[in-house]
Structures are given as structure tokens and as C-alpha cells.
């Protein structure tokens, strides 16, 4: 027996006790998105000129991961209605009924507060402020406002996903720099072609949910042109760290090759036939864009580790 006031909720006038397991709450944290956040934050932290205490660095990354997960939980709480009608998201914990909406909301709020406070108290308050702003930006500005109101939703909302390397940098140095802003820009400018490639082949899903994604609002042809335009910008911006002398030629050449690949896939999307419903070029760009971001940051990380090792060895 259990008192009904503990962990339950009313639905259709009947009391319902949660059957959510710990795994369902982990799913609320969007682990796949979190892994990219952790990785980019880690690169920002390690690329910084100041080497933080390893334990403090681990705590910083942990706090950023939990903060990112918290914003994912808040997003799933608010978006449960549209997640339920999209094939890609219908199995998420809230629309599938595994986690009650109120549980997701409280879980997200508690983890948000906990992650920001931990980062502030144990690392520094600049990083904590950036993390708090990122959670607010993703949950309120993107999820509650932009997502359902403008086709520029993921362009502006992309800032939320772009902040982690800046937070990592701030965690290590207690300040910000042009280098960290460039890392921000790489993710920020990468977001539109990445998500619009997905929106092209998930167009019907988004239309059913009533989300004004770019292809649904301005059409596929215009979206394809915009994807290519953003690709033309993100590829050279990713080379900037080398041109500005922040990295070695290893990163520079890697970024040029990866950028050329990005432009190739974006070009294939641009010339994709209107009648092509399989949309293989869009699917290929979506897949490549994930690889691109991972590889760019991995190259940046490799470069930073090499430079640090070379510095220690006095080379």
C-alpha cells in the first residue's frame, strides 16, 4: 500500500501511480544530445590556455552534462503534445505515458538548479551563469516561444546547443575569449543545415505536429538554398581557429577537408530533384553533419592536447 500523495497524479479523474523507472528518467535527459554537449564542453575546457584541476574539470563537465539533461527534460515536459504526434518522438517517456508531465517538470527544475549551483560553488560563477542562461534559452526561448512560432526557431534556438564549449572555456579560465566565441559560432552555424536536412525528410511529421519548420513554411527549394548558404559560411568559419593562429596546421587541414565534404553533401541537397521523395541526399547530409561536428571538435581536441604536451616538453 502507498499513500496516494506520494509520486502519483490524477488523470481523467482517476488517481494514477507512476510506473516510471530510473531508466525513463535517464531518457528524459536526452543522453545522445547530452553526449555531444559533454564532448564540445570538454573540448572548450581543454582548449583553454589554463589547465584546470582535473577533479574540478570532471565536476565542471558533470555539471554541464546534468544542466543539458535538465533542459532536455523541461523540453520533453513542455513538448509532450507535439512529441506524441511525431513518429520520431512518440516513444519519449512523457508522450508514451511512462513519466507523468509533473514528474518531468520537477525533475528538470531540480536538476537545473542543482547543476547551476554545483558549477557556481565548485568551479566559477561565470560558467554557472552561462549554464543557467543556456538552460533558460533552450527551455523558454526555444521550446516555449520560438519552436512553435517561427521557421527561424532552430537558427536562433541553435545558440543553446552552441554554448557548451564556451561554458567549458569559462569553467577553465573564468573568462571568455574570441577563440571560445569561434567554437560557439561553429556549432551555431552548423545547426541550421543539420536540422533543416532532417526537416526535409521529416517534413510530414513536423506538419502534423504544426511546427513551422523551414520546409513547411517556405518550401523545400528555398530550404535547400538556405542549407547551402549556411554551409558556405560554416565551412570557412571552422577554419578560422587555424587562420587566427589558435591551432596548428593539423586542425586547419582537417577543417578544410571536412568543410569540403560538408559543401559536397550540401550541394547534393541543393540539386536534389523536387520529385525525390526518398531524399537520400538530405539523409546523407544529416548523417555527415553529425560526423562533421564530431570530427571538427575531435581535431580541435587533438590539436589542443598536442600543443599542451609540446608545451610541457618545451618543444
Amino acid at each position: 500500500m502507498a499513500l496516494v500523495e506520494n509520486g502519483g497524479g490524477y488523470e481523467d479523474g482517476r488517481f494514477r501511480v507512476s510506473e516510471a523507472t530510473a531508466g525513463d528518467f535517464v531518457a528524459l535527459l536526452k543522453p545522445r544530445v547530452m553526449s555531444l554537449v559533454v564532448f564540445t564542453a570538454f573540448v572548450g575546457l581543454l582548449a583553454a590556455p589554463v589547465a584546470p584541476n582535473p577533479l574540478i574539470a570532471v565536476i565542471a563537465i558533470l555539471s554541464i552534462a546534468v544542466g543539458a539533461g535538465a533542459s532536455g527534460a523541461l523540453n520533453m515536459w513542455y513538448d509532450a503534445d507535439i512529441d506524441a504526434v511525431m513518429t520520431r518522438t512518440a516513444a519519449r517517456p512523457v508522450p508514451s505515458g511512462k513519466v507523468l508531465p509533473g514528474e518531468a517538470l520537477i525533475f528538470g527544475l531540480v536538476l537545473s538548479a542543482l547543476s547551476v549551483m554545483t558549477l557556481g560553488v565548485l568551479v566559477n560563477w561565470l560558467a554557472a551563469s552561462l549554464l543557467a542562461f543556456t538552460i533558460f534559452f533552450y527551455a523558454v526561448i526555444y521550446t516555449m516561444w520560438l519552436k512553435r512560432s517561427t521557421p527561424q526557431n532552430i537558427v536562433i534556438g541553435g545558440a543553446a546547443g552552441a554554448f557548451p564549449p564556451m561554458i567549458g572555456w569559462a569553467a577553465a579560465t573564468g573568462s571568455l575569449s574570441l577563440e571560445s566565441v569561434i567554437l560557439f559560432l561553429v556549432i551555431f552555424l552548423w545547426t541550421p543545415p543539420h536540422f533543416w536536412a532532417l526537416a526535409l525528410f521529416k517534413c510530414e511529421d513536423y506538419a502534423r505536429a504544426g511546427i513551422p519548420m523551414m520546409p513547411n513554411v517556405v518550401g523545400e527549394a528555398s530550404t535547400r538554398r538556405q542549407i547551402f548558404a549556411y554551409s558556405l559560411v560554416v565551412a570557412p568559419v571552422a577554419v578560422l581557429p587555424w587562420l587566427l593562429g589558435y591551432t596548428t596546421a593539423f586542425y586547419g587541414v582537417t577543417a578544410i577537408l571536412l568543410g569540403a565534404g560538408f559543401l559536397y553533401y550540401a550541394w547534393k541537397v541543393l540539386i536534389m530533384a523536387d520529385a525525390d521523395r526518398a531524399m537520400r541526399p538530405a539523409k546523407a547530409l544529416f548523417g555527415y553533419s553529425l560526423l562533421y561536428l564530431f570530427a571538427i571538435f575531435a581535431a580541435y581536441l587533438g590539436d589542443a592536447v598536442y600543443e599542451r604536451a609540446a608545451g610541457l616538453a618545451g618543444i
Binding site: V4, E19, I56, T118
Partner: protein
């Protein structure tokens, strides 16, 4: 409040199992939090944390 006045439900096996899973996760999370704050305090302040005027 008398026991009869309480609004009680009988949990199903699935609900009990889910509750155990959540309870365990909360215990682990709290344990990790304690360790994180303990270790971070030592790492951040070192022996200076003990250097307090009596």
C-alpha cells in the same frame, strides 16, 4: 489523522518495481553528490579548509 481517513492505493508489482528503481537511483545520485562536494572541497581549498581561527 486516523488510518482509515488516509487515501490508500495498493501498488501493482510493476509500480513497486518502478518505485524501487527510482529509490535506488535517488540514493546513488545523492551519494555521488556527497562524494563530489567532499572531493571538490579538498581539491579546491586543500589543507587550507582546516585553517580556521579558533
Amino acid at each position: 489523522m486516523a488510518e482509515d481517513d488516509k487515501d490508500m492505493v495498493t501498488l501493482t508489482e510493476a509500480q513497486k518495481k518502478a518505485r524501487r528503481s527510482r529509490s535506488l537511483a535517488i540514493a546513488v545520485a545523492l551519494g555521488v553528490l556527497v562524494i563530489v562536494f567532499y572531493v571538490a572541497t579538498i581539491a579546491k581549498y586543500g589543507p587550507a579548509i582546516l585553517n580556521k581561527a579558533m
